[in-house]
Structure formats: C-alpha cells, structure tokens
Symmetry: C2
Subunit: 162 residues, 2 copies
C-alpha cells in the first residue's frame, strides 16, 4: 500500500465509484498532515479552521472511508478515541499500556512484524495495518499492586476507563 497521497486517494475514490469532493479532499489532507493520535474532535477542529462549513458527520463519514482502505484506524487509549495515520515512517503501532496509571510506552519489533506478515500471508490476507497492545502494570505501578488501596485517587471513582 505505498505512501498515502492526495492523487492516490482520488484514484481510490474513482475505483470504488465514489465522488471526489472538496470536503473529502480537505479532510484527508488535514488528517495526513497531522501527526498520529489525532482524535475525531481534533481533526474536526483543524478541518474547520480551513473550511468552517464542514460538518462533523462528514468527518466521520470520510474517516470511515479511509478506514475501509486501511489508511486510518481507530483505537481507544484510556478514555478517548485516537486516530493514527497508516504506514507513515516512524510510526509506532505497538504499545505497552499500564492498566493502573495509563502510562503508554511505544515500541517496535521487526521480528514480530515479520511473523505477523507470515501469518497473514498464510491466510491469504493483504495487510495494511496492525495494532499490538500489551496490557499490564508498569514498573512504577507494580509496587501499588498490594496494599495500595488507601491512597487518594483522582475524582473518578476508578483510575481507568473500561
């Protein structure tokens, strides 16, 4: 799936018999220019700065379009939805996530990606993106595992969103 680009998006639309509109191009451009971990709200705001008449629904609809092509994917980090760009250089799609404090450490493992490709190939899938998340407790929180019930917690009843 090469690098994402305007013309390529245009081509994709044509191939699928969809129309290329000012809104779609604008949304895709802003999305691609932004770093990863962009929330829908943030994307909407940025797009709005360039074209104030674009609606929230259109952003969602366009995002879906991109997701179907593997150019955007969504995930929840703690309690907010974040988007990230597909395949762009330097992107990390792998995370170690602490279930207690929410800390996120990014990592990358070429070996793992190799194995992933192998699995996909064996199943006949054409893979565009992947998501790998390891959940547990970070070094700082491990001590809190036992007997840590008395310290004050934030305003929310529990530290982490389901």
């Amino acid at each position: 799936m090469g690098k994402f680009s305007g013309p390529q998006f245009h081509r994709l639309l044509r191939e699928r018999g969809l129309k290329s509109t000012r809104q779609r191009e604008q949304i895709v451009r802003v999305f691609m220019e932004s770093g990863s971990h962009l929330s829908v709200e943030e994307l909407y705001q940025r797009v709005r700065q360039k074209d104030p008449r674009i609606g929230y629904a259109t952003v969602y609809r366009t995002l879906k379009l991109m997701a179907e092509s593997g150019w955007a994917s969504s995930r929840r980090f703690r309690d907010r939805l974040a988007l990230f760009e597909h395949q762009s250089a330097g992107e990390h799609h792998d995370h170690l996530i602490c279930l207690l404090c929410g800390k996120i450490v990014e990592f990358e493992s070429e070996r793992i990606e190799e194995l992933q490709s192998r699995v996909a190939r064996r199943q006949g899938f054409r893979i565009f993106d992947h998501k790998l998340e390891l959940y547990g407790h970070c070094p700082a929180c491990i001590p809190k595992e036992k007997g840590g019930g008395s310290e004050k917690r934030g305003k929310s009843e529990h530290g982490k969103t389901l």
Copy 2:
C-alpha cells in the same frame, strides 16, 4: 497471574482496600462463567437474571475494577463493544480483520507471544493480557478492491464502522 477465581477476586479487593459485595461477586462470577466476547449489555442481562436489582452502573464499575487488574479487557469489533475473559484456556487474542467485509480470523502464534514477553520484560512491565490485530483485506474481498464500487451495500452508508 494464574487463573481467575472467586477467592482470588476477593483477595484482590482486600489488597486494594475495597469491599467485597454481593453485586461484585455476582458480576464476576457470571462474567467468568460466560464465554469471551460478551458485551456489557449481555453481561448486565445475565447478571440481572440472577439478581434483578443490580444496576447497569454497578456492572460498569465492576468491569473497570477487573480491567485494572487485567482480568477483563474491552475491544471493539466493528461496532459493538465486546469483553473477553483473561488468560482462559483456548482463548485467542489475535485477529486478522477484513476492513471490507468485517470477517475475523483468529490465530495464535507462540513465537509472537514469546517476543512480546521479551519486550515487556525489557521495559519492566508485568503483562496480563495482549491484543494483536492485523487489518487488511481477506482473500474473498481482494478482488473487490478495484472497480467494486457499484455493488449494493447494506443499509449503512459505509460497510464498516470507524
């Protein structure tokens, strides 16, 4: 982290200074007895059959508690929230997901899990669970990639939820 059990949950609560209530025990029991991929709604309904006065909020609050301990985790498959039990035998946490038709193929790779542990260890994390998803197009949908824009789609405007 071993297998999840009632007494163990009770111990966890005590360790964190939390109370062991009839509701919490009921919810945890039903959750553990059910297979994986249980939605919050389904869990609520099942718990309700045993104890009709339990509220939805309590189910959410208890799930959060379990999530913090790595005993439950949530994920979205297409458009619905699904929960799954931690570490139970035969569970697959790895998926190949087709972005066009939504097909999901489960797989397991011991080699990948080994590498995951290695990464976690290196960072000092204690891992309870993981989630690996590969996104792309399945064998059946690859032909649809080009010129497939004219076939009828379901009632939703796009085939897949963001």
